[in-house]
């Protein structure tokens, strides 16, 4: 199985069909069913709304490639978003808010990585524990209330443009390029492939798997801090349940994008397409006037279907 995974790594094009076909299919179906779907404002809307998800899904891809999982992302996102709001409100400085949020994100990521790599707790339970902690801290720092009255600059992060392109898209694409470069063009990226696929080789190469794992989770935390800024800007406030369940959409995007949960086999472009697929699915169901509860259930079914297909693939 491991050998097979390494072969797949060298030929990721093999995976294009799954997620790309699904995306095109969804677009065709929604275009036929609702006139509002295939319009420039709506497509732009889908893309802008997908930016926060992409910022979680990129590091989630790396984490899943190490045979890990981070269930705490949504709860930590809520916390970092609140911190951006609280610091921006107190100091008037967006930058200080972002720095504080990223610091908290990195702290949570480091704790997750430490629990997984050093203590040896299975990732889904370790991050379930930190999920509870972040959820509790969100309630405590916000006292269960929304944080409102943001400085004008906060809103500008979400509604502003850079050379005609919405700022969130610029940030998200920038993040994608950084992650792409990191995963495919640095030694760090090679080690991550090795972490999931061939840990022995890492050991022989004298690389500390522990430090690497902590780094991967901490990187995730930093991205959650950055996503917290976008979240606060999007809602123009901090809300104690803002990021609830968003880790699930991120895991869904990664799974749909063809990254395997068991074979250390990841594909970043697939995750990008997966994020858009989840965004299109939610947007289309929304345009069809289906409640958000149905959207949540559909994303759940999407994940189970993707994992089923992945299971079939790994057996063949």
């Amino acid at each position: 199985m491991r050998e097979q995974a390494m072969v797949l790594n060298t030929n990721p094009l093999q995976r294009i069909p799954g997620v790309a076909v699904m995306l095109v299919l969804l677009c065709v179906v929604f275009s036929l069913m609702t006139p509002g779907f295939l319009t420039v404002p709506n497509i732009s809307n889908v893309l802008v709304q997908s930016t926060i998800l992409l910022m979680l899904a990129l590091p989630m891809t790396l984490i899943i490639m190490t045979e890990g999982l981070d269930l705490s992302m949504g709860a930590v996102l809520t916390l970092t978003s609140l911190i951006v709001a609280i610091v921006a409100l107190a100091t008037g400085s967006l930058l200080l808010g972002l720095l504080a949020a990223m610091a908290v994100g990195i702290l949570f990521g480091t704790v997750n990585g430490w629990l997984v790599a050093v203590v040896g707790i299975p990732p889904f339970v370790a991050t379930l524990g930190t999920l509870g902690m972040a959820q509790g801290l969100s309630l405590i720092v916000s006292d269960g209330q929304s944080v409102v009255g943001m400085p004008a600059a906060v809103r500008g992060v979400y509604s502003g443009t850079l050379g005609g392109v919405p700022l969130p898209i610029v940030l998200a694409l920038g993040s994608y390029l950084v992650f792409h470069g990191l995963l495919y063009h640095t030694r760090f990226g090679t080690y991550i492939f090795a972490l999931g696929g061939n840990r022995e080789a890492l050991k022989f190469a004298g690389i500390s798997a522990r430090r690497l794992l902590i780094l991967v989770y901490a990187l995730g935390g930093a991205m959650v801090g950055l996503a917290g800024l976008l979240m606060t800007a999007r809602m123009n406030s901090g809300h104690p349940t803002a990021g609830l369940g968003l880790e699930f959409d991120a895991i869904a995007a990664v799974a749909v994008g063809g990254t395997s949960f068991e074979r250390g086999n990841g594909w970043l472009l697939g995750t990008l397409l997966g994020v858009v697929t989840v965004g299109v699915l939610r947007n289309g169901l929304n345009l069809l006037a289906l409640p958000s509860s149905i959207q949540v259930a559909s994303v759940g079914l999407l994940v189970i279907a993707a994992l089923f297909v992945d299971g079939l693939r790994s057996r063949s």
Binding site: I121, P122, V125, G129, I140, F248, F261, V296, A297, I304
Partner: protein, 324 residues
């Protein structure tokens, strides 16, 4: 409390090991009680102690089925959402038909059916259990919110409400149910062939399959039982709260997992007891009750539960000499 997954020769040693593990936990529960008696005036009263026991029973029902899943080396993250959907469907049935019996059967049936679907995903589709049940969590969550449409169901027959809030000979009814299921669970896990096979699957799935245990069928059973217990818990919640809402189960999954892990069941499968889970549920309930009595803001509860989950796993890994 024999751990039957191990060869008979080492049975004696493991018997004492398991008992020591449970003994430590009972001691911890006792120390928490002593501390709370000293720190607060209201802890050591009959009313509060019965309240703690009732709360612990509710947690135990969900956590007991989960214990079996964890014993096989799996996890069921969908139990909280399962409680919610079972409660809402059972509530509708009681409202429509006026028959509590039919409602109870529906609740357990829906819970069991969801559990069976989990089992099918894990066995036939070979999806890792934590991610399969995590997907199921959100599917159920969505369906329940859509089904309820933001409504709350109120007002169930007085006879039905007795299941959750009634007393018999001075003890809350859920406590009697607790004793019954504690006995059934312990006998099933420790004294039946199927129970032994569950331990064996958790200890070493490959060896279990090679020794002729029908692994897939046992796993299917375990996930179904876990779901059915969530269904039973939903009935008791329904009867206790006298209302059903879509968000009824949201805060239950983490405490249930905490109870199992505090109780000494190993996340890696094959080690642990149903009785330990009862003690785990008791400890967690005592901590949360104590925080309440010490007027700590309820916002702190998920934080503390999260810390306890991680501490419990860490302690378990430190104190247990793992055979495998």
């Amino acid at each position: 409390m024999t751990d039957i997954s191990k060869p008979i020769a080492s049975g004696r040693m493991l018997l004492s090991d398991e008992m020591i593990q449970v003994f430590y936990r009972l001691l911890a529960a006792f120390l928490i009680c002593a501390a709370l008696t000293i720190l607060t005036n209201s802890f050591f009263s009959l009313g509060n102690i019965l309240n703690v026991l009732r709360q612990a029973s509710l947690l135990f029902f969900i956590a007991s089925g989960l214990t079996l899943v964890v014993l096989t080396g799996g996890l069921d993250l969908s139990i909280g959402a399962n409680v919610a959907i079972s409660a809402c469907v059972a509530g509708t049935v009681i409202h429509q038909t006026g028959s509590p019996t039919l409602g109870v059967l529906t609740g357990i049936g829906v819970g069991g059916a969801v559990g069976m679907l989990n089992g099918v995903m894990v066995t036939a589709l070979r999806i890792p259990s934590f991610i399969a049940t995590y997907g199921m969590l959100w599917v159920l969550h969505g369906i329940t919110y859509w089904y309820m449409g933001g409504e709350t169901m109120h007002g169930f027959p007085a006879g039905f409400r007795q299941i959750g809030s009634g007393y018999f000979l001075g003890l809350p009814i859920p406590v009697y149910l607790l004793l019954v299921f504690l006995a059934i669970g312990t006998i099933f896990a420790q004294r039946t062939t199927w129970g032994q096979e569950i331990y064996a699957i958790g200890a070493n799935p490959v060896a279990a399959r090679l020794s002729g245990i029908p692994v897939a069928r046992r796993l299917l059973l375990v996930y179904t039982v876990s779901g059915a217990m969530a269904g039973l818990a939903s009935i008791i919640f329904l009867a206790r709260l006298n209302s059903a809402e879509a968000d009824i189960g949201e805060s239950l999954t983490l405490p249930a997992i905490a109870a199992v892990l505090i109780g000494g069941t190993s996340l890696f499968g094959g080690l642990g007891t149903v009785f330990g889970t009862f003690v785990g549920a008791l400890i967690l309930t005592l901590v949360l009750n104590g925080m309440n009595l010490l007027s700590v803001n309820a916002s702190w509860q998920p934080l503390v539960t999260g810390v306890i989950v991680i501490l419990a796993v860490w302690l378990d890994m430190k104190t247990r000499r793992r055979a495998a």
